[in-house]
């Protein structure tokens, strides 16, 4: 992990002024569409911009520049709250702007580059953004004090106004902007004592809601440019396949079709509108060479993983002497768990708009990795980075899918051949069949129990690819993929001998990458299901069994008690119903305990009746957004746990749209109770824990209801 020095955050605006900013009035409540896309200049000469996140114009307009993208998780409210708390402005005074790509100004300290993912935004920016706000406030106060020739200590800032307390004189930030801009940026500023927070910790309203209820919110897919054409695309149905020939005649006969673009691995139909593009693509006769993967199916991939699981991996955690303890244990329990490929299926299908001109390239899209989007466009076009302008947008879902820039790369490759701005929109079928999937994981897990049924040894061997090695090579150290073992190496249970290994086995057919919850989602399913198995072997209650092992984890134990109490753990249930519990802790720094109540019908159909979560994510920026993210994660987790599965036949993904990639719907969604524990611990991530904890609690509830232990996801397939 690299860190970004404070200097990078407290930089004069010159650097920002070099790039284009995309203006977007997120908080606007008027009916008119308010997205303004284009060249938002840096501060006017008399404006005040003490760092890359704040700009105050002489008119008093306060613009906050968002380093982290908004994909539903509430960053366009939580990031402004961090800035506004220390800057002493209120949310309705501010205007938001998407940050342009710039790894120097907007790097996420966990990754060393501009990236929104891994539930990291609040953790990464909790202090830097407060510091940015406090720096600006200190300079504005100093400017006011100088105007009045008084001690800055006798002045206070509130709601964008500095007041000289003894005399009651006031000056607004707008009036002070020019003067503040001439002052040196202070090296040290004092951050507020949390007890003095007026905004942080409150359920402040989301700033992006108004535009999301009246159709004015602008996603990448909504981009409209003069002369723009629209394309839709078909990549080789088998990854690694090539186009060997096309017959354009019928496609070109479709009214509105303008051009057919052929790449080595894909074809695109360019048209006046999406309907013509879709019709044209359907009419296009393409001959494919399916390549080396044409015969592979899911079973072949699983066979490879199973074989790899017989070999030792890289040890990521070792306590005591697991091998000999396991050999001597009174009872030995062993299991194999499997987690399938998963698609992300964001509601907004992949899309990217590109205009390749003679002198440069412009890209309009929604991305979790803006600087990577810029870099790939530069690589494809051959332009230097400064000739590639990327305009970010709201993301219609990310879940890790938009951490990849394959759809940007492909759109630029197509647009290079088109003499107009081009919006490339994937159909849902293309989105499902050409995702960068959550990998298939294969886990071997074992434990030894003493004669009283207490675990004395735990060994967990994880088999799957090393996504981090591809995605973020600097973070792949000593052969350990910190993601693949996340949640497993932090095992909370007090067991004297523990071994966690990762056997790196790269996926042979599909592209695989991050998916909400990342490694933790799969590991937590394995761990918490297996702990339940141990409880059953020991004939102990699942909550009591866990509780006895949490002596060294008081935060987890407290949460377990809250969740069990709120869920009515132990109270009788109707026949066919069951409760399951699961705990979560991982690199996100958040603790979560969940109890699920399910009903398994005679037909085997599972219905989730209720989910109770107890959450300890340390200091909370906005409790309503934390609740929303838990609700969100749980729903995403239920879909995946019950039904989520991408399968391959003859190298092709068999699923294609919502009819065969089932996701939870309104009539199936259970009530979700979220109980927040407040404390002063460091902030933890909140976007993904709800997803990661759900599969095991559902699996354990199904076991409670039916006596059937399902070790292979999705759960519904095992019933």
């Amino acid at each position: 992990m690299t860190t970004v020095s404070r200097r990078a955050f407290v930089t004069v605006l010159a650097a920002v002024g070099g790039g284009l900013l995309v203006g977007y009035r997120v908080g606007d409540e008027r009916r008119v569409a308010t997205a303004t896309i284009g060249s938002a200049s840096a501060a006017t000469p008399r404006g005040f911009a003490p760092n890359a996140f704040i700009r105050i114009g002489p008119d008093g307009g306060i613009t906050l520049i968002m380093p982290q993208v908004e994909m539903g998780q509430g960053t366009y409210t939580s990031m402004p709250m961090l800035l506004a708390e220390e800057l002493e402005v209120v949310p309705d005074q501010i205007r938001l702007e998407h940050a342009p790509p710039d790894n120097k100004l907007y790097a996420n300290q966990f990754f060393g580059e501009q990236m929104t993912g891994a539930s990291s935004s609040v953790r990464a920016f909790y202090e830097p953004l407060r510091r940015a706000g406090a720096t600006a406030r200190a300079m504005l106060v100093a400017a006011a004090a100088a105007s009045w020739n008084v001690d800055p200590g006798s002045c206070r800032a509130q709601k964008g106004v500095v007041t000289h307390t003894p005399s009651g004189r006031t000056l607004t930030y707008g009036v002070l902007a020019a003067k503040a801009a001439a002052l040196p940026v202070p090296d040290k500023v004092t951050l507020k004592d949390p007890k003095d927070f007026s905004l942080l910790g409150t359920p402040a309203k989301r700033l992006d809601t108004p535009s999301k209820v009246n159709g004015t919110a602008q996603y990448g897919i909504d981009v409209r440019l003069p002369g723009m054409l629209i394309a839709t695309v078909a990549a080789s149905p088998v990854l690694g396949g090539k186009v060997t020939g096309i017959d354009e005649q019928k496609a070109k006969a479709v009214p509105g079709v303008r051009q057919i673009v052929q790449l080595d691995d894909a074809v695109a139909v360019v048209a006046d509108h999406m309907w013509a593009a879709k019709q044209g693509l359907a009419a296009l006769a393409v001959r494919w060479d399916d390549g080396p993967n044409a015969k592979l199916s899911t079973a072949d991939i699983v066979q490879g993983l199973a074989k790899a699981s017989e070999t030792a991996g890289v040890t990521a955690r070792k306590d005591g002497d697991p091998v000999s303890v396991l050999a001597g244990a009174a009872t030995k329990v062993e299991a194999v768990y499997e987690s399938p490929f998963l698609a992300h299926v964001t509601m907004e299908p992949m899309n990217c708009t590109v205009h390749v001109r003679k002198d440069g390239c412009e890209v309009w899209t929604g991305s979790q990795v803006l600087s990577r989007a810029q870099a790939t466009a530069a690589a494809v076009t051959g332009f230097p980075l400064e000739k590639v302008v990327v305009h970010n947008h709201l993301l219609g879902g990310g879940f890790g899918r938009r951490l990849e820039v394959d759809y940007v790369t492909q759109a630029v490759r197509i647009a290079k051949q088109v003499d107009a701005p081009l919006k490339v929109v994937w159909t849902r079928e293309e989105d499902v069949q050409h995702d960068v999937y959550r990998p298939y994981y294969y886990d071997r897990i074992a434990a030894g129990l003493d004669p009283r049924g207490t675990p004395v040894v735990w060994t967990h061997r994880i088999v799957g690819p090393a996504i981090v090695a591809r995605f973020l090579p600097p973070a792949f150290k000593d052969g350990i993929d910190i993601d693949a073992v996340d949640g497993a190496v932090q095992l909370l249970y007090d067991i004297p001998a523990i071994q966690v290994e990762h056997v790196r086995h790269e996926e042979p057919v599909l592209n695989t990458g991050f998916w909400r919850g990342v490694g933790v989602t799969h590991n937590n399913f394995v761990i918490e299901s297996f702990v339940d198995e141990l409880a059953a072997t020991s004939k102990q209650d699942p909550v009591a069994f866990r509780r006895a092992l949490l002596g060294k984890s008081p935060r987890a134990m407290a949460l377990l008690d809250v969740a069990a109490k709120e869920a009515g753990w132990g109270k009788p249930l109707p026949r066919g119903h069951g409760r399951g519990v699961a705990l979560l802790y991982s690199g996100w720094g958040t603790y979560l305990a969940q109890v699920a109540e399910v009903e398994v019908a005679g037909s085997g159909d599972v219905r989730v009746h209720r989910i109770v979560c107890a959450v300890d994510c340390g200091r909370i920026v906005n409790p309503d957004i934390v609740r929303a993210q838990i609700e969100s994660g749980v729903v995403y987790g239920i879909s995946a746990a019950l039904w989520g599965e991408v399968t391959l036949k003859n190298g092709r993904v068999e699923q294609s749209n919502f009819h065969n990639y089932r996701v939870l719907r309104m009539n199936e969604a259970p009530p979700i109770d979220v109980h927040l524990v407040r404390n002063n611990e460091a902030p933890g991530g909140i976007g993904e824990p709800g997803t990661a904890v759900t599969a095991p609690s559902l699996g354990n509830a199904i076991f409670a209801a039916t006596g059937k232990r399902i070790r292979k996801l999705p759960l519904q397939t095992g019933l």
């Binding site: 209820v213 897919i221 509108h273 299926v345 299908p349 849902r428 749980v634």
Partner: protein, 160 residues
């Protein structure tokens, strides 16, 4: 030429009669509030109202709506039910990524316009066709109930 009545305005457009209303709205008329999600009437992101009924615009040919009135998210705030739904959505901070919410609001508004006090089963029936991957279902249900309880909102409040 096809005549299309959208939000009270009639547009004469030169498109094939089998072209779905979704793409006419988005790519011809430039009204991007209505979203593309699946193209098969499976997800509800493209929901608009046709004479007050919620329909999936991605599978509704423009030739089939002649003489009928289409209402989209851009104008649903002009209807009494739409105003209440939008206000409740804001009060409960329903949206997350927000991409499906145009469709959710169009379905919910159609429900409330025809059934002022829907029971849970009515909400399930009306909303089951609208997928939300961010999992806002609980808040949508609560917001529909809140909107059902709300007093009429004056048109002045419709601007959000």
């Amino acid at each position: 030429m096809v005549g299309l009545n959208v939000n009270g305005k009639v547009h004469q457009i030169d498109v094939p009669s089998d072209m779905p209303v979704l793409w006419v709205l988005r790519d011809v008329l430039g009204m991007t509030g209505t979203k593309f999600g699946c193209g098969m009437a499976l997800c509800g992101a493209c929901t608009v109202q046709l004479d007050g009924q919620a329909i999936r615009s991605c599978v509704t040919p423009v030739g089939a709506v002649a003489g009928k009135a289409i209402t989209t998210i851009e104008a649903i705030g002009d209807t009494p039910a739409g105003r209440k739904v939008q206000a409740a959505w804001i009060a409960l901070d329903v949206p997350q990524c927000g991409y499906c919410q145009s469709g959710q609001i169009m379905s919910a508004s159609a429900l409330l316009a025809s059934n002022a006090h829907p029971a849970d089963a009515d909400i399930d029936a009306a909303m089951a066709g609208n997928i939300c991957r961010c999992g806002t279902y609980g808040r949508i249900r609560a917001a529909i109930k809140e909107a059902a309880q709300a007093a009429p909102i004056s048109e002045k409040g419709a601007t959000r």
